[in-house]
């Protein structure tokens, strides 16, 4: 068996194992010098990115990939002597998982490149880079796993490493406060998920998502399932920053370093993935998806509106952007919520699937432009030394590239046409309008307020007289921002590239829980 065959066969496991090995070895390799460690970290991140791309290719070519840890062969989901129940931990990679894994590893790579320069000269960098890799592990694991308890374990890796990274720049204790709040909130959430997993285990004696969904469908949706569903859905909605529980978002994103804000933003998208996976695959067959969908829609509306209005109030650049990511999460919840509310009816094929595609495309776009904006905010703070917008001004005189990148990101997030934000917003407006016109109106108003507050940032940070005599940021930060800007423009002009290879498979995978279940419980190939 050649190396290539080995990689193809074990791609889902390697996508976890490679960054995990990288994280374990980083503190050791850092002893050999910073440069060696950086080469190591970046090559690990690059290889992870390659594996995620390979997973997307495999899923698009051969359908859902099943990987059984310890199975012989590794695709044997159901052992022949077990009577049709999955025994071991199973990774199930469908379109949505591959999509989330791809955006997670991409933002990890970009943040790695960016932090080469931005964290130079700070202490404890071996731990910083190891935690960065662990955060990638957490996101990838949440995306790829098909086992509930395993999902919980990766959720904990995700939240703990994110909390540690938030506290990296201690910033007079403020960053530690933010990290504490983030850690408390995500720990109680994770415990509630564990509680729900215990309820589901006690009822069905299974931990595999497909098996639980199958048994739930057979025995009927009981009150226990309802309570477990409420626990899981509310927790994951909190982890992705939906509004009545969004308070940790501005704290956490606002105090973290720029590239870490971008990564935590994508980590919360991984929780969003978990939310969609639970709603569609685990509970989608049995529960009342109509009311569940409307719950997501209402959360999305609240997130959109309150997020954007609170953002307008802020004068701290990172906090402002953090509130905007609350608002952008609202768009995704709205789009996918419309898909969930219409699931199983004739409206689903008319506009529900399209709304889901819009919501999922928005996840990709949000990763690109919100990541870019956080990186530009990090660049500004790197040069100016403050995050207070009131003290900024005239940066466009000297930081020309940063200004251009900021403008690309701001226009994209506001939905100005040739950039990618417009495409997904258009898809959401058009389809949501058909469910209820009010939803589309709110979405459009939120989009306008977004533009207003980013113009405010542009004016106060980049325009005006030259207050600071600063240089352009170092090259590695510009490269990281340039990568994201390139994809923003590319997906803005050719949206069908993303639609064909990433978004449409993801939406179809979510909308087809039966395919997921039969692929796992059908015995594997």
């Amino acid at each position: 068996m050649s190396v290539w065959d080995f990689i193809i066969t074990n791609a889902p496991a390697l996508a976890i194992a490679v960054p995990l090995l990288g994280a374990f070895l980083t503190p050791l390799i850092y002893r050999a010098g910073r440069k060696t460690a950086l080469i190591w970290v970046l090559s690990v991140l690059g290889f992870t990115e390659f594996l995620a791309l390979l997973l997307v290719y495999l899923v698009n070519t051969y359908g859902i990939q099943v990987y059984v840890f310890g199975g012989n062969p590794s695709t044997l989901a159901i052992p022949p002597d077990s009577g049709g129940i999955p025994i071991r931990i199973i990774f199930t990679v469908d379109g949505m998982s591959a999509f989330t894994a791809l955006i997670s590893s991409t933002i990890g790579l970009v943040a790695g490149i960016y932090s080469v320069a931005s964290e130079k000269g700070r202490g404890a960098q071996d731990k910083f880079f190891a935690l960065l890799l662990l955060l990638v592990v957490g996101m990838m694991g949440m995306a790829l796993t098909g086992d509930l308890f395993n999902f919980f374990v990766f959720l904990e890796i995700n939240s703990l490493s994110a909390a540690a990274l938030v506290s990296y720049r201690i910033h007079g204790g403020k960053a530690v406060e933010a990290a504490f709040k983030y850690a408390v909130v995500s720990s109680i959430g994770a415990l509630m998920i564990l509680f729900a997993i215990a309820i589901l285990y006690g009822e069905y004696d299974a931990l595999n998502m497909a098996m639980i969904a199958e048994r739930m469908y057979q025995t009927g949706f009981s009150a226990m399932d309802m309570i477990a569903m409420a626990l899981i859905v509310v927790t994951l909605a909190m982890k992705c920053g939906a509004v009545p529980m969004h308070y940790w978002v501005p704290d956490g994103y606002g105090e973290a370093p720029g590239e870490i804000s971008a990564m935590i933003m994508v980590a919360s998208q991984a929780s969003l993935y978990g939310l969609f996976r639970m709603c569609f695959t685990v509970f989608g067959l049995s529960a009342n998806t109509h009311s569940l969908g409307w719950f997501l829609i209402i959360l999305g509306l609240l997130s959109m509106f309150i997020g954007v209005t609170m953002a307008f109030l802020q004068h701290d650049i990172k906090r402002l952007m953090a509130y905007h990511s609350v608002s952008q999460t609202g768009y995704m919840l709205l789009g996918v919520g419309v898909g969930l509310a219409t699931l199983g009816t004739s409206a689903f094929n008319q506009y529900g699937l399209f709304a889901m595609e819009g919501g999922i495309f928005h996840i990709l776009n949000n990763m690109l432009y919100k990541g870019l904006l956080f990186l530009t905010a990090g660049a500004i703070i790197y040069r100016v030394g403050t995050s207070d917008l009131n003290k900024m001004g005239g940066l466009a005189h000297t930081m020309k590239f940063t200004a251009i990148f900021y403008l690309i990101g701001a226009l994209a997030i506001a939905g100005i046409p040739p950039f990618n934000g417009f495409v997904s917003k258009l898809m959401i407006y058009e389809s949501v309008y058909q469910l209820n016109p009010f939803l589309a109106v709110v979405a459009a108003i939120v989009s306008m307020l977004t533009l207003a507050s980013f113009l405010k940032v542009f004016h106060s940070a980049f325009m005006g007289p030259k207050l600071y005599n600063v240089k352009e940021v170092p090259k590695s930060m510009l490269i990281a921002m340039g990568i994201l800007s390139f994809f923003i423009v590319l997906f803005g002009i050719f949206p069908n590239i993303a639609m064909t290879y990433l978004v449409a498979p993801a939406a179809h995978a979510l909308a087809d829980p039966v395919g997921y279940i039969t692929r796992v419980l059908g015995g594997g190939a």
Binding site: D81, A124, F128, V137, L160, G202, D205, A206, L207, I227
Partner: protein, 101 residues
């Protein structure tokens, strides 16, 4: 005001959690009790472990065989969580140890 609201919230949560514990049957009474202490409803996955663990893994302790074989990947994840926490504590407390910056 806050306390009254939180009281209502707590009462709701208590009633639902107690429902989980006492488990008198379903709301729409399609199905009976789901889990009773001492007699689980489904046991097939665990029966597989109990019957096959000794043959397949060579461990007399079934829990060991699950922790290190059937669900060994969870144990790897657990080790990673511990590693994460160690790194995080080291990162957070680096100033107390007197590292620079």
């Amino acid at each position: 005001m806050r306390n009254i609201l939180m009281l209502i919230v707590f009462l709701t949560i208590i009633s639902f959690f107690m429902y989980v514990a006492i488990n008198p049957g379903d709301f729409n009474s399609q199905t009976g009790e789901h889990f009773v202490f001492g007699s689980p409803k489904f046991t097939d996955m665990d029966n597989y472990f109990i019957h096959n663990a000794q043959n397949q893994t060579g461990a007399n302790n079934v829990v060991t065989s699950i922790v290190f074989d059937y669900r060994g990947f969870d144990t790897l994840g657990e080790a990673s969580v511990l590693f994460t926490a160690v790194l995080g504590v080291g990162l957070a407390l680096r100033l107390l140890r007197g590292d620079k910056k």
